[in-house]
Every structure is written in C-alpha cells, then in structure tokens.
C-alpha cells in the first residue's frame, strides 16, 4: 500500500497509481476553499482498489504560498474491497495568514458520454476525431484553470502591494512631520535651559 506522504511545496502533483484492474466510473472533484490559520481541513473519498487517482493542489493566496498536504491510506483493518483515502491540508504552522487553497482530485477515468455505450464496436473516424478533440479541449480547460490560479496569485500580491504603498506613504509623511517638529522643539529646549542657568549663575 502506498504510505502517506507529506508535501510542503508550492505546487505538488501526486499520483497514486496501482495496477489498473477496475476502472471506477467516477467524476473528479475540484474545490477552492479558505484555510484559516492554525487550521486543518481534511477531505475523504471512498475508492476501490486498483483505481488510479490524481490529486493536484495549489495555494492561491496567502503567506509564502506553502501548505502541508497529507494523503493517507486507511489501515489494513478496513474492508478489502473498498478503501478510503483521505488527504488533509494543514495551516497549523502559520499564526496569522489564512490561505486560499485550490485542489482537484480526479478518481478514475471520466464517465463515457453514453451510459450504455458498448466498447465492442469500433468508433468511426468522425467519432474518434471528436474524442481526440474532446481530450484536447479538456487539456485546454485545464491549462486555463492553472493560468487563472497563477493570475489570481499575482493579482492578490499586486493589490496587497498597492494598499501597503498607500499606508506606508501616509505613515511616512506623518513620521517626517513629527520628527522634524520635535527636532526643532528639542533644540529650542537646549538653548532655553542654558539661558536660565546662565542668568542664575551670573549674580555669583
């Protein structure tokens, strides 16, 4: 059985592949959620043995764009036929940055277009052309998703920078004024004290 693995990378694609004996006809799950600081979020799925599944995740916003991901198999005590796999995202190492995580968990192959399609008859040329276009378009959509996530990452950083620049300018202007006025006041106070001490000492 594949052991659990810990990953702390910006983007990690882990494939757990066992010999494909049964192909379970299941769709994939694609979700985006917010992971608060010091939190852990787990997702579970029941999968039959021998199904190839792919988990892909990316941290979209927050911190250093790292998150702990653990993918676990159940113990051997569970039933033989059905196996639960669960994966967890943990943000327990960070104290104040909450993160947005996107993940895409594909189990098995995509369901066929026709539920009662018999694979015995070969596809005509048109049909196989349609199938290959379908696969190509699926990868286009996949790339679009990745691009969208990267753009979201960049945009959130840019917006963050924008607000930081605004706050910093205002803060620095305030600091400048306070420091310069207090400099002048302090200098004046030096000379004022000297004057009073000299007047006090002069009679003696």
């Amino acid at each position: 059985m594949t052991p659990f693995l810990t990953a702390r990378l910006r983007r990690y694609i882990c494939t757990c592949s066992v010999l494909c004996v049964h192909l379970l006809r299941v769709c994939g799950s694609e979700l985006t959620f917010e992971l608060p600081d010091n939190a852990k979020q787990c997702f579970y799925e029941d999968i039959t043995t021998g199904t190839k599944c792919t988990l892909e995740f990316q941290v979209v916003t927050g911190g250093h764009y790292d998150v702990d991901c653990r993918l676990e198999d159940p113990d051997g005590a569970v039933l033989y036929k059905e196996m639960k796999k669960h994966f967890c995202f943990s943000n327990e190492f960070s104290t104040f940055t909450h993160k947005t995580v996107y993940f895409d968990f594909q189990v098995g192959e995509d369901p066929p277009l026709f539920p009662n399609e018999n694979r015995v008859t070969a596809l005509t040329q048109m049909e196989s052309a349609c199938v290959s276009i379908h696969e190509a378009l699926k990868s286009v959509i996949d790339y679009q998703t990745h691009f969208r996530l990267r753009e979201a990452q960049g945009r959130s950083r840019a917006e963050d920078l924008n607000t930081r620049v605004a706050f910093w300018s205002i803060g620095e202007a305030f600091i400048l004024l306070v420091v310069s006025i207090s400099q002048v006041v302090l200098l004046r106070s030096f000379f004022s004290d000297k004057k009073t001490t000299t007047t006090r000492h002069s009679p003696t």
């Binding site: 999968i47 378009l137 620049v165």
Partner: protein
C-alpha cells in the same frame, strides 16, 4: 421522484468532509458570467450504536448561502439532509458557497461530526447529455459534437473573463506605479520644505537669543 434517484446514483462516490454543529464551510468558485453551477450534497450522521455513519434523519438540514463577487446574496435557502442547489452567475468573479447545518435538535450530533458528501459541477459539466440526447433526438455523433460545442463555449467565456481580470490587474499595477511616483515627488518636496522651515525658524530663534 426520478430526479432524486438520479441524485443518489451520482453520489455513489463523491468527496466528503466533516463539519461541526455550528461550523460553516465555505467554498470559492471563480467563474465567468452566465455560468451555471449545480451543487449536490448528502449528509450522514454518526450512529454510536452501530458505530458507523448512517443517512441523517429528516430533522437535520443544511443551510446553503451563495454570495456573488459583490457580497450580494444570490441564493439563501434551507434544504433537507440531501439537496441540490443550482444558480447561474450574472457577474464574473469569485462566488462563495457556504454550507452550515441547521440542527434544531442538538442531541443528534452528540458531540460528533456530520459527514457531508459534496459535489459541485461548473459550466459544461452541468449538462446532462443523456437528457439532451433524448430531448433533441440526437445521434451519437451529433451528441459528441454538441459536447464539443459546449466545451468551446466554456473556453470562450473563460477567456473573456480572463481579459476582464487582466484589465483589473493592470489597473491595480498602474495605480501602484502612480502612487509610488507621486509619493516620491511629494516626499522630496516635504523634505526640502521642512529643511527650509527648520533653518529659518532656528535662525530667527538664535537671532532673538542674540547667539548669532
């Protein structure tokens, strides 16, 4: 009753997670406009006697709230222990789908967790091709071509949304650029002005004190 049967069938193996009694779980979907989203969920409650998760009783339902990118609520409804919610986006952007349980009988949870099976389908995946084939009486080839058309449609919408996002990104970057530029100029002016004021003030002060 047929739709319910289909729902359960789709749910044979969907991703699930655990949710506490007062916990609210939110998911973010960044989608272009005029995109349909269908969400299916199914809940299970832990039965201590049988020590396994069983379908939840009737009293337990989930409250589903969907917010659009402008924080306006576009769907706010309560469903039973199993439900299906659908909405179509009218503005592109990040939509937030939040679920929390409305348990009126707190003893049901008994300190345990509720198991929620969730499946969210976006855009082209919401189409039920078997239904479309039956309704429009399409041959296999026509159905495949229809699927390709839907996919290309989704790609086109996403690219439009991409252009709109890139425009926003560019606006933010240009605004930052402007702010940095103006701030450098203003800071230099402030510094020079303060320098002048300090020297003039101190000079007049020392002249008054007859030190200069």
């Amino acid at each position: 009753h047929k739709p319910i049967v289909i729902c359960i069938h789709i749910f044979v193996s969907a991703l699930y997670f655990h949710i506490g009694e007062t916990e609210k779980k939110c998911f973010i979907e960044e989608i272009p406009d005029e995109t349909m989203i269908i969400g299916n969920y199914r809940t299970q409650l832990y039965d201590k006697q049988k020590e396994e998760y069983l379908p939840a009783t009737q009293g337990l339902g989930m409250f589903v709230e969907v917010k659009d990118p402008d924080e306006k609520v576009i769907l706010s409804r309560q469903y039973g222990s199993e439900g299906r919610f659908t909405f179509t986006s009218h503005t592109p952007g990040e939509h937030q789908i939040c679920l929390h349980s409305n348990s009126s009988k707190f003893s049901l949870f008994a300190g345990g967790m509720l198991r929620v099976h969730l499946d969210i389908q976006v855009g082209e995946h919401t189409n039920n091709y078997a239904e479309i084939a039956a309704k429009d009486k399409l041959t296999e080839l026509q159905l495949r071509v229809r699927q390709l058309v839907e996919q290309v449609d989704q790609i086109q919408k996403e690219q439009n949304y991409q252009r709109y996002r890139e425009e926003r990104f560019r606006q933010t970057s240009e605004s930052t650029n402007q702010r940095v530029l103006w701030w450098s100029i203003v800071q230099t002016l402030i510094l020079v002005a303060i320098g002048f004021w300090q020297m003039r003030h101190l000079k007049s002060f020392f002249e008054a004190k007859k030190l200069v």
